[in-house]
Symmetry: C2
Subunit: 352 residues, 2 copies
């Protein structure tokens, strides 16, 4: 349990979030594509109740012609399927000290799904967005944050929104989205942290000035204090995670395994560049893991490393480096909202 | 946030469990049948990796003939579908003071699914269990608990195991079980708390003496101290839960709603007897809710109550009573393992 920053009591609000939101048990990484019910889930406010018959997507603002589309119209457009690894920007938050108060993820806010939908860029080309600098995506989930009553909304620069892998997604793993994953339609932005892929999408607005809504301009920024503007959180930083080897005890979840050969395995991904290298640490000594090809351009790749486990207590770790030279920190870099913490995972094991 | 017992810091072990296990966001109660990815999930040890080609179910012990069945043999038997509400025996644990250390559920360890499988009683009649008093069900999930290395195992008296609604289930909501719900085969015992419905089933043993394994004889008992034997936890106690009305703030999840008419709605269930009555409390005054028929014999029923919400802070509550006269307590009855806590739910709201 070295993974939890211990400073400060977990608050009732954090526990209420932790029992609603859903981390993926790390042994779920054995699947190339995460079963729907194992994928991580973060719901910002409540899951909205949307009637697919009455639901519409409106495309408005600085467009040549405004349109309103129903689900059949979107489903009848040319479809594309993208397998993408998604991660919550807050993954790792509960390992920061002091711990920022929000959903207290340790390592498990991850999942990889096959998303099917209509490429957004093709639709935007049809409606015409000549003067726009950003697209603002508004979801139907509604609540109060930062002293304001609002629908969840995020924006993307035109260049990012029109990448060919950005989808208006209506299927996950070959079936209609389940309600909690954005039914009937969500945005999917491979390579960016999950807050970008707005669920329960109702409106896309082309704007000629950068969007300043709460979830764009205030939330999701790397900053050291609430007073500074900070740097916006965008793409997923590199991360490797291992499936904790052996078996656990209950309720502490310490790991036990038998001496001898064990294949340590896991996944690695980055939204910045392809993964180039995964290293496995055993008691502070680093070894090169074997890396498989990624499943898709924006999806994780499997890695493995053969370990001859000798009796005693050991501390395992793993660290990914991407083709841009970005790697994972060995010490906790802190920020006030607890975002993008890709600190190296550490797994203590007892070999018998 | 009146729902959380505040005594004692949440431990790292509890947080590690809370980010693996999955509660159902209560707005999920708007669905008669819970989508697979919204159903609650508790995994005792790890999710095992079972190869369906090599997996077998063995029926052994005090039977006239031992059998070993593969998945096709089980799927080719006459099938039955049962819609059942399942609840974790530990639901409500984190509302106890002092808080027992295990998965810290508040209220959300629930779900209702359509389970399809082969009725167990028919299979047992074929293999012959004349002298047996219990059936022991062993799953493939493996770990250490109570100082012992073991597979998770639970038993049922013959009379319970042969009820016509007890299934060897291989489908959930019309699709093969997802790995975390027991793939390829699990036991389904409608009306009993979830620990009874053993997942990743590998063996059924007929025994002539009551089973004394850890998860049967030590765990899952109502007791005031670890020294006493206690009473075994069996069927689901009555409970009503409401979908918190209005919308939340983030991250505190306080509820806000507009003045005027609002339909307060939710679900109620009991594994002991049909639900007969649901009452809604508003600031300590109780009102009778309207009750729909249950979806199936062992499934929840919907209830609703029209409220003319006046501005100000209010405390909403709901309470179920079943046909056996069992109701929900208004004060916390404590037990050492934190089981069966069906204390009435309370939802503070601010009406504007």
């Amino acid at each position: 349990m070295t993974d939890l920053g211990r400073s400060g009591e977990i608050t009732p609000a954090e526990l209420a979030l932790a029992t609603r939101n859903r981390g993926m048990p790390l042994e779920g990484m054995r699947h190339d594509v995460t079963p729907v019910g194992l994928h991580y889930l973060l719901v910002h406010f409540d899951i909205p109740a949307l009637d697919p018959e009455r639901w519409r997507l409106r495309i408005t603002g600085a467009v040549e012609r405004e349109v309103e589309l129903d689900l059949d119209e979107i489903r009848s457009r040319p479809a594309k399927t993208v397998t993408a690894t998604m991660e919550c920007a807050g993954n790792g938050r509960a390992r920061l000290e002091p711990r920022p108060i929000s959903q207290p993820w340790l390592n498990e806010a991850i999942g990889t799904a096959r998303w099917t939908g209509a490429p957004l860029g093709e639709l935007l080309a049809e409606v015409g967005i000549g003067d726009a600098v950003e697209l603002v995506f508004t979801g139907a989930d509604h609540g109060i944050e930062g002293g304001e009553e609002l629908d969840y909304a995020r924006s993307l620069p035109v260049g990012e929104a029109t990448r060919p892998s950005v989808l208006l997604a209506y299927e996950m793993n070959g079936r209609p989205l389940e309600p909690q994953h954005g039914y009937p339609l969500r945005l999917l932005v491979p390579g960016w942290y999950g807050m970008t892929s707005v669920k329960w999408l109702t409106r896309i607005e082309a704007v000629t000035e950068p969007f300043r809504g709460f979830h764009q301009a205030t939330a999701y920024h790397y900053k050291q204090s609430d007073d500074e503007p900070g740097e916006p959180v965008t793409r997923i930083r590199p991360r490797a995670l291992m499936i904790p080897p052996g078996f656990p005890d209950f309720p502490e979840r310490r790991r036990y395994l038998d001496r001898g050969h064990v294949t340590v395995t896991g996944r690695a991904w980055s939204g910045l560049a392809p993964i180039e290298r995964v290293e496995i640490g055993v008691d502070g000594e680093w070894h090169e893991a074997e890396l498989d090809e990624p499943i898709d351009e924006w999806a994780w790749c499997r890695w493995s490393w053969p370990w001859d486990a000798e009796p005693g207590e050991h501390l395992l770790a793993c660290r990914a480096t991407d083709a841009g030279g970005e790697s994972q920190p060995l010490e906790q870099p802190w920020n006030v909202q607890g975002l993008g913490n890709n600190l190296v995972q550490q797994v203590p094991v007892l070999v018998r």
